[in-house]
Amino acid sequence: MARVVVDVMLKPEILDPQGQAVQRALPRLGFDGISDVRQGKRFELEIDGPVDDAALDRVRKLAETFLANTVIEDFTVKVES
């Protein structure tokens, strides 16, 4: 069994209220030197069987049609070592 990770982030041009809220709170917490924060989702999928190209293609398809809404979000798929 292997783990594939899908990261879903809002597209750069789309407002990210969550990331902004975190960023605005940083100075109050005494953290400076962080110029931007964006918050997204991380999905950890446990895959039965080999993680070959076909399997990754299927995960990519899943990300595109279901995990992310590509109107507003980008995603990346990677195998976790």
Partner: protein
Amino acid sequence: MLPSSGGQPPNPRTLDTVKHANETPGTEQPWAELGLKQDEYERIREILGRRPTGAELAMYSVMWSEHCSYKSSKVHLRQFGEKAPDNDALLVGIGENAGVVDVGQGYAVTFKVESHNHPSYIEPYQGAATGVGGIVRDILAMGARPVAVMDPLRFGAADHPDTKRVLPGVVAGIGGYGNCLGLPNIGGEVVFDPCYQGNPLVNALCVGVMKHEDIHLAKASGAGNKVILYGARTGGDGIGGVSVLASETFDSTGPSRRPAVQVGDPFQEKLLIECTLEIFREDLVTGIQDLGGAGLSCATSELASAGSGGMRVELDTVPLRDSSLSPEEILMSESQERMCAIVEPGKVDRFLEICEKWDVIATVIGEVTDGDRLEIFWHGDQIVDVPPRTVAHEGPVYQRPYERPSWQDELQADDAGRLPRPGTPEELREQVLKVVASPNQASKSWVTDQYDRFVQGNTVLAQPEDSGMVRVDEETGLGVAVATDGNGRYAKLDPYAGAQLALAESYRNVAAAGATPLAISNCLNFGSPEDPAVMWQFAEATRGLADGCLALGTPVTGGNVSLYNQTGETAIHPTPVVAVLGVIDDVARRTPIGFASEGHLLYLLGDTREELGGSAWSQVIHDHLGGLPPRVDLEREKLLAEILVSASRDGMVDAAHDLSDGGLVQALVESSLRGGKGARVVVPDGLDPFVFLFSESAGRAVVAVPRSEEVRFTDMCGARGLPAARIGVVDGASLEIQGQFSLPLSELRRAHEETIPALLA
């Protein structure tokens, strides 16, 4: 003040200044891609006496889009003004962000319903969420504190797989945004019909309350006054989104054609509300406008157009989220959660201070001038120089051809009265169960439980009551009630009558709760205006609504038109949604729908005829749509409403429920389940039990009358000429139709409440 980041310094070679436009009259311009027609482009050139700059072209194109200019609907909407009933209650009429109604005791109420149909199909959550955000800012811009929202919704077939994607997203979006703003959701609709498959209707309504003296208008006056943009930074999302998206037939095929949808930030909007209310309280603004469709193009041109002078804007001072935006993009961006205010110079500091208190970014972006032009500059270079009225209020007006469709006669001839009816009491019982369990008639609590209906602590009635009601004054108990209704099936059979039936039902719902109907708002959802058949439906519906409002004495205070709701050649059912606002002197007197007291007598008010065209029964049992919708009698509706309001005021009724889709049996089931008490009902002599239970004759309600009030109540109905038939008594734990069947409430509850969760689980 918070830092404002201007855009990029000008690139002299690409910046299309007014000067440059004058020097290069022959430059090719992308007017067609921006949705303008050839003659519209020519007219812009004529107005300006030259070719428009890129920024001007951007402004005209969004402001002259169907969504912003109402170019196809304007000629019909005029009737709402021309046929307006005399009504002292109307303080601000059509044309402002929302109409305002006097509700007494120095209070004024503003309300409006708007559509966010197209974005909600593409991105259900954000599309619906930003729909709520937009209507709330409209209400806020009038000077009011928003106090409640409602959401009339329509989706494709309940069991269609795409409904499973769209509905939960839309509902979560409306809840996610409205709940986070602290606005109770007090009502709405959930309707399923295959005609909405590729075109769900997401309409959103907001109600706001203010004192008369707090009314604010969207106009810029007083040369030297400052133009302040405040709220969220401007980003590249939703450029031309709503306006362009909602202005042509939507083609859902290619992902490449999907235009950007905005992401809403309800937290920012909540801050904007509190900040703006504090600014109103200190009387710091002379004019104010929210930013919605067409963004800054709309706000600046409308403010300037409605005001007395001109306006000068330094566009590079606009705080941006993305510093690479071009001036055209800044003008067209529909970034959410922004407002624009006109402020006297001496009040600017205090204004900015309040914004700072609420962590709201505010920037002086320009000032009112004594000229008559809207002038916009980019790092010192002039990129816009236009007469603002030509952008905002003098857009194109179309007399679109319309024609009664050829199939209308055939549709109306296909009478639902000819459909096979239940032959035995057993079959009748089965059909009752089937109808109350059908998606359209089933309980919507799966949806409405996702909305906060208690926040603000003034909610008197909310779903599943006939109308939503909120208290306005804690001391006197003054309150307002709102209901929204629409029936696309009726409107398809006869758009004129359909619009009046929507009005009548909403009016009746408000009265059933004990409130006196005062005024209306509406959202007209139709297909493409370029189709003469659709245009005929639109013309008929507006005519019906205007005539109906005149007859009922309830003026139209505002509303919204959503066209191009169609997939390919197929338009949705014509769907006028009508919201009626009513007032009640003391909310303690409100009438709920639930049968809660054993022994109270049930009276059916109004006349029951055999009217099955467009009915829930014909849809559920026979999947049929044909014939004529129920007959409209607005004088009767008025009388019924007066009786319902008097009965509530004088404590003569304990419960009241209007009759609409599903007929009497639907109302009996809902009232029994709501109050937890059954009913024993007798079919009046001479009435067919099936017709008695399922006919959808308008102008009816069922009421529960305490025995002690029976004489007083029937005397009142008799004296005023309203038919009132005693049909039974509140009793037991079943719904029993004597001589026909008996249905335990537990069985009815299962049937009524399990449908929607099962479909959406």
